[in-house]
Each structure stands twice: as C-alpha cells, then as structure tokens.
Symmetry: C2
Subunit: 162 residues, 2 copies
C-alpha cells in the first residue's frame, strides 16, 4: 500500500512535469519566429531568450541529476549566466527548438525509467553529508522545482500569443 | 521506509506550495496600489485582477477539498468566470489582499494537519466510481496543479515590478 502510494505521488509529479513541457512545446511551435523574437512585455525578456533559457535549464538538469554531460554547455553562459540583450550571439530559433527537444526527450527517457529510490537519491550539487541531514535535496525535488520554474516563464511566454 | 518516503514527497510538494504562496504574498505587499491597478503587459490582465483571481482560486480549493464553504463566493463570478475588464466592480486592493490571506491561511492550517491518507483521498469534484479508476484525482494533485497555476500567474505579476 505505501509503495503504491509513493509510486502514485511520483507519477503525479512526473505527470505535472510532462504536462508543462507539452504545453511549452506546443506554444513554441505555434508562435512564429517573429513572435518569438519579440519582447514578452515592453523592456522584458524576448521569447527567444526564454526558449534558450528553458533549453539551457533542462540541459543543466542532465548534469545536476548525474545523467550525462550537457549537450549544449555553451548555452549556460548565454541563457543562464547572462540576461537577455547581453550582446551575446543567440543560436537560431530553429536550433533552439531542436536543442530543447533533444534535452527534454533525453530527460524524459530517464524519468520514465527511474525507480522511486532513484528519484529520492541525492542530486550532484549536494554532498553525502548534507544530504543525510536534508533528504529533500533529491532528484524528484529538482524536477518539482523546475516544473514550477517552467510554469513561471510559460505565463510570460503566453503574452506573445495574439 | 516507504511510509517515510511517502511523507517526504508530500512534504516536498507542500513546501513548493508554501514557497510559491510566500513569494506571491511578498510580491503583492511590495507592489503599490497604482502598480497593482496597472496591466501586467499591454492589453493583458491587471495586477488587481490576478490578485482577485488567485484569492478566488485558493478560496475555491476549500470547497473542492471538502474543507468548508467558500469565504467569498461572490469572487467566483468576478475573478474566475469573468475575464478582466468585464465591467464588474472589483473589491479594493486592501480587501483582496486580506481575502487572499484569509483563504490561504485557512488552507495552510488544514494542509499542515493532513495525513497522507487525507492527501490521497478524493476531492469533491470526482465520483467514488471514477476515483476508483483514476486515483490521481486526489487532494494532493489539486494542490500540485494549483501551485503550478500560481507560478504561471506569478511570472506575469512580476512584470509590475520596476
């Protein structure tokens, strides 16, 4: 019963992650390149920056969860460490969409195979010692916080729709 | 061990809910009334509408989770069934902030006392029959989806900051 409960809750969280990514994927496919190159509100982040930012954050999860090296390590500087309009050259919209799909499909492949024990094991940015005291610093919690982070930016990206 | 795992994951989800609500609460306190009365982007929802919307949605959770009747049933029509700029009269910013605090404190009082069994029990909008087939339609999942919904609007409300 408790094992079933645990698996049910993990599944609920995974479902929320998948649902937000599906909505994101549908939105970026629906928006034109011209829309994505616009600011989401006057003086705020452009769609293309947010697209690169989400691709970079998802790519970084592969590293943080100990799954593999980043596919696009150069994105970290452009889309995480730097704000929009930093003067750095962005990849094209098509490249960023493809990158988002690559990293997210790779994450989902692993997520769908994770056992509960794997979900609740530590991520790579916490020491064994700290993890023993703070068991919430696990892989599942990374996914939960990244789902919320994605939803936060989705609300902004939605402003590019007519 | 499995009971501990289940409790840990519930705690992680509750922590995400509390964290988003804390950020929301801090943001609405930081924004001036003039800022809240502005549009979050040209032609988009005003801050005061989003504040009322979140207060109404949290109030509705009390009903959906079977905890009590809504404190502000009149908000449903103004802030959930109607879009912004519907011509309906809004309560003042001060009233909406107080309403948000009332409903959210009431929710949190219950959430902090819920057992795992209560979290995983059905919400009031699903029949016993459907719930037997779809056990994900439980109270915890309502909180997870409302956390994501709140994050979505928080991204928009953040555009009111200077």
């Amino acid at each position: 019963m408790n094992t079933q409960q645990t698996e049910l809750i993990v599944k609920m969280n995974l479902s929320a992650w998948e649902s937000q990514n599906k909505r994101f994927s549908e939105l970026i496919e629906k928006l034109s390149d011209a829309q994505l190159l616009s600011e989401t509100a006057p003086g705020r982040n452009t769609g293309v920056y947010l697209l690169g930012h989400i691709a970079a954050v998802n790519d970084d999860m592969l590293r943080l969860l100990g799954l593999r090296d980043k596919f696009f390590p150069e994105y970290t500087d452009i889309f995480i460490k730097s704000p929009d309009k930093s003067g750095k050259t962005f990849p094209s919209v098509a490249e960023l969409k493809a990158a988002y799909n690559t990293v997210t499909n790779e994450l989902n492949k692993h997520f769908n195979a994770f056992t509960t024990e794997q979900w609740l094991s530590k991520h790579t940015a916490v020491s064994e010692e700290d993890f023993a005291k703070e068991p919430m610093r696990n892989k599942l919690n990374v996914m939960i916080s990244r789902t919320i982070h994605l939803a936060n930016h989705m609300g902004q990206l939605a402003y590019l729709k007519n």
